[in-house]
Subunit: 242 residues, 2 copies
Amino acid sequence: MYVRCFKCPLRVQRAFTPKTEEEVAVIDRLKSDHLRIPAGSDFINPEQADAELYTVFSGWAFRFKELDDGRRQILNFALPGDLIGLQASLLDKSLYGAVALTDVELCVIPRRKLYSLFKSAPEVAYDVTWLGSQEHAIVDDNLLTAGRRNAAERICALIAALYRRAETLDMVSNGVLDFPLTQQHIADALGLSLVHTNKTIARLKAQGLFSLSDGKLSLVNPRAVGRLAQHFEKDPAPRPIL
Amino acid sequence: MYVRCFKCPLRVQRAFTPKTEEEVAVIDRLKSDHLRIPAGSDFINPEQADAELYTVFSGWAFRFKELDDGRRQILNFALPGDLIGLQASLLDKSLYGAVALTDVELCVIPRRKLYSLFKSAPEVAYDVTWLGSQEHAIVDDNLLTAGRRNAAERICALIAALYRRAETLDMVSNGVLDFPLTQQHIADALGLSLVHTNKTIARLKAQGLFSLSDGKLSLVNPRAVGRLAQHFEKDPAPRPIL
DNA sequence: CGCACTCTTGAAATCAGTCAATCCTTGTGG
DNA sequence: CCACAAGGATTGACTGATTTCAAGAGTGCG
């Protein structure tokens, strides 16, 4: 079930800027494979030298780093349309790992073709850079969260940001989002322990901020969540997609 | 005292990959100004819509984000040769501020020229992307630090990383580095309070890990610092510079 | 001299981490 | 159908790291 870019159902969504036929043709030639990765398995290893560049086609994934003794920090989550592996492709060595959170489909862009892409299709290269910066902005935000917010604020910030991003991809229906993170993932993303994460989530749910069970998230009181999170982002403008 | 790129004393240092004459000419035409910013003043405001792209020519700078109530997180420090403002240039709105830590000289690259740069000088555009990824990798690291290391580890990780980067720029002489961060900066970069930062630094100094006073840093026991920091980086390969 | 900035120090308060069980659901094998 | 294992969520009690509050000391500067 290989998906050709000119038949890609993702790129026509409202979240993405339309591309010309020629650009899509370039991207289609660029794409070397369409992978299916089962939930829980990794597709970039820390230390890996030859990691490719991926666009998430469907499902959720995340990047992480860890210390010797196993302490793990999730750096950011990737949703459909997001790029994963630009650093690893450019820097000749991955400094992080990437894991499929749900079953995931990935479009593969061979790292070897990246440099020539800058020569042959500058508009597409510009989009690559743009998407890299976008991810960078998210990590910046996550650093602010881990460094300066308390537990309740961290959880609201994470939930608000993911909910918002999912919304633009029409992944929210009737106010409910399929939310595949376990509490362990949330803890790892926020720099908290599992136990403290659990207790804080319980308190926030009891306060009626949001509901989350059986992998279904909905914001019961979006205002209050947004206030705690100090989540300022307005509706994100359409963005490029490869 | 405008510095033309073909006379740039920075780009000839061993830390940077040499460029062809044509490339330097392109960069020289790209450069629109050479700014001097006094220590402590900011050159990118959070929320600023028209931030330019800068290369640090001399001195130290940093990027930061803050919350409503003033809690501030430093995202990363920039040394000579580092790029600042790529996100802000690309994303039409800065989501962070940038401040001169010491007196700083900046090479200005107008954001307006960025897109056309991708068409006219793909090798240079590639370097821009590369440098963006490089900064991204540093922020990833800082997120791991803020999320998962304890106070002593955080301080060692920061010191080790900055010392190492400064070393490659020949800013370390006789084992001593001019280190312009106040303890408040260190605290803001690591997600710690000032008081706890102070006490932890005092303890580490007493243990003979490093010395730091009057803005002079030296690693008394580099091994121990590296071990606590779990700082794996080997000698960084030469990198591009604009 | 007085002000501003940075660094220090002590004590009290609190947030978050660790340890240790228990519960629940789901899937598997007998 | 039942026993059992595995993964995730939950809870209580305790410990400890880090923050907050408050005060003081050293230095450079107008």
